[in-house]
Symmetry: C3
Subunit: 354 residues, 3 copies
């Protein structure tokens, strides 16, 4: 080995490096703190009362304010990037994402992934990797469990496919599986005025659409700060020198940034949807870049009782985020394809007090 | 009701929605943390020792470092925005603003407002709303009490004025009302060297002017991060898509950002003015935009004993902030009007150790 | 004294204001918190496990995650700026920088400096000031000790030189002086997978070079936020109005920002180098501006046992940071001079588990 070529740095895994059933423990455990919470608030401006006020949280049944669910998702997701998606061409989708235990400042998060599917693309240049990733807290309890699939480059086009299996994916998380991260809520102590919305679970109708009205412009510094906060190492978000020669000619905003913006914007219309209990599926329909203003609207897809819970009910919500396009007319698709302004199509379950 | 038109989102109050004597409890209680403090420090760079060091704070009489007073103001103010000023054309002024109790990390803040004045403008398109807003901590104690008045649009020009009363406003907070948020200060333990200034209360002369010398340039990401940190929802600060078609063609920096910058800049010249005890009045004289560099100068308007306090004295200070204009010649007015570089004219009381 | 000319603000020290042996206590003690840690993580994206996870830190022997060493350096350095380098033309170098005690959230840092050398330049316009600066925690223990020298303007060219002495500087910190800030490490509890690197102390060879591969683009908001977080008052980093007329026509990024970026980038290749024990020397070879992308590579200069420590070993590493120039070919010098892309040449000791 020449002194100049020590392979101390990890190039990430290429498609042919994965194996079906492979178990990966991800690096960089992370203690989450009120500092992370403050930064998350400052970057997205969420206003859900349970996450904002320890006093409000305690009155309704939490020991203190839990972390925003989407922040937990981003931190766990970030840990998986160096092993799963450093050589990804595209992040294709999420499924069966369940928030299983509330996370509080002071907790330490770890992550693992299992390779549950592999399929080489016909061009032999890339393949699709399906992983089930899990986040754990310092007690070893699972706080988050989800499937994602990504298109990953091959290092060597001539390498044989490492396996072939397309897993069956859960289309929608069953209502019975919701609520593990949500304590029994004291609905009489839940103060609608402080929460900022008079609408509870029973007030929403299946099929109704809500324009979340507000828009937030994304700056380069903001999405870089956010993505580094999650220790997400995907270079496309940080490296203008490389990206100036790349696909878009510029840095791509981390897809999760749009999810956080959409969730924060959704407060205006879904203010009592205090907990994201599950994500059924999500697609980053188009890339987001700094300078764009993100808007969002939602449709209530379904309403469900959560078994053995008389405190909360679940709404299945589809939230569409757009760039530089207000949502008063609920833009979604033109003919067969998405409206070009749509950047995110997210299908998830939220819990609201009854 | 059509599914498409569910009024789940709040359009904010218009002029005709207010009533004299109306009491408003604002949404989104907020637990403040050391994370918020770190962000505030990083955005403005304040160096007042009592707020920077728990050890310094404890030596002089605080249980630990209190939050910067202006940060407390911004958080309370932010809560009032969705109800009071979402449809504001202009934030006209502040009066009788008193800091009544120190706020520490871990406290949870709430806010209420009472409508104390209403006056329709002659064009019938807008009216002025006067509110007395109060911030409370988790014990129910009032931490902040202030009046502000804003010009608010009418939804319907034909709507009758909801009332007519111009309240009598306190021009200057009396010295006897200062100091509620300031414990008894141990002036011998107060270390001028660590505090960064050799000038105490008695060293300042009424009429003296101080150029604070330094300047700080504002970036879009910075003011957006700050304003979201306060959960301030005024869209003009975040939404470039909408504002590109608006009055200024761009996002307006939250007026409070200039107050925080001016306060941080004032350290250089007023380093021992460790506590803002009251704001007598303030005007956002001209808009501030990202890319501008803010400078500031101050004049000592008055010097006062605080009754029954031999530890601290009060200086009434007028601080003028400018954009892209150093203040060595103390710019203020040209003929009758403000110098076009002036953005802020703030009249307030600070406490200094004797 | 006219009311307009009160010298309340400090213009900083000029060359002729310093004296050999002068002791300076710096202002603004600073309690560091998890908020500062979160911001530091968000700005630089470090992934060293000991600083990221309280659980990991505890398993290997720390009471909890210590602050990133470079963050401690920046905070102590920041305190020295108003007294030492406000009138600096250039920050010339560092030597004999030793991290002596781990710093944890909740600690309060102070700083002092002693003038250990002075040399007027032949042009009589500037002189070089050498200081030994120390950072202390709230118990009075020294956490950091280093020498730096800066070229400082004279106020008055006719003023006599205040002294003449060029101190002898330590070229390399002895290995015996390393490790004071590092507890006894439990090497069997040190988990390489969680730490993100399989290479321990014994795996690195003297002379090997490591391209850290990744690049990070710097935004104006980011370096301003970072530098204010450290309460560093050097105006060249914040004041675009003044700098637009200055040497570079724009704001200069604080040199320490490049150190933090290089340290964070070095994780990819030196992931188990969990502690910076000393900085032997450092040069800011060229200025860094916002918009540039920073890359880095390292060479292992030496490998050393730390006396009486069988848990950790020390690597002397030279890390070179560049702007807008990937480092796969290890750019350093062209003929006699630095490659124009090089911005930082840093020589330091890191500790790794055996």
């Amino acid at each position: 080995m020449s002194a100049q070529s020590a392979p101390r740095t990890s190039p990430g895994n290429f498609f042919e490096d994965f194996r079906l059933g492979q178990q990966i423990r991800h690096a960089t455990p992370r203690t989450v703190t009120v500092g992370d919470v403050a930064l998350y608030n400052a970057l997205f401006g969420p206003r859900f009362a349970a996450q904002s006020s320890d006093v409000f949280a305690q009155k309704i049944g939490y020991p203190r304010s839990p972390l925003d669910d989407v922040l937990v998702f981003h931190i766990v997701f970030g840990k998986t990037v160096p092993d799963i998606s450093l050589n990804a061409v595209a992040n294709l989708g999420y499924a069966d994402c369940r928030f299983l235990k509330a996370v509080f400042p002071g907790s330490t998060l770890n992550a693992t992934s299992e390779v549950i599917g592999l399929r080489e693309n016909s061009n032999k240049k890339t393949g699709i990797v399906y992983v089930r990733s899990q986040g754990f807290d310092e007690t070893g309890d699972t706080v988050l469990d989800y499937v994602r699939w990504v298109m990953v480059r091959k290092r060597d086009e001539a390498a044989p496919a490492p396996g072939e299996k397309v897993p069956e994916l859960t289309k929608t998380v069953e209502a019975a599986k919701l609520g593990g991260a949500c304590p029994k809520i004291n609905v009489t102590a839940y103060d609608n005025v402080l929460a900022g919305s008079q609408y509870r679970f029973g007030d929403y109708k299946v099929g109704e659409k809500i324009d979340h009205v507000d828009g937030i412009t994304v700056e380069e510094a903001e999405h870089q700060i956010a993505t580094r906060l999650y220790q997400n190492t995907a270079r496309i978000h940080f490296n203008q020198f490389a990206e100036s020669k790349g696909r878009f000619g510029r840095r791509l905003v981390y897809g999760g940034h749009a999810i956080s913006l959409a969730r924060a914007l959704s407060f205006n219309g879904l203010g009592n949807a205090f907990h994201v209990a599950a994500i059924n599926g999500g697609r980053h329909v188009a890339p987001l870049f700094a300078g764009c203003t993100v808007f969002a609207w939602s449709e209530v897809l379904a309403s469900a009782e959560v078994p053995e819970r008389d405190d909360v009910g679940a709404l299945r919500v589809r939230t569409i985020a757009t760039k530089d396009r207000p949502c008063s007319d609920f833009p979604l698709k033109n003919a067969d394809d998405y409206d070009p302004a749509v950047i995110l199509d997210l299908d998830y379950w939220v819990l609201l007090p009854r």
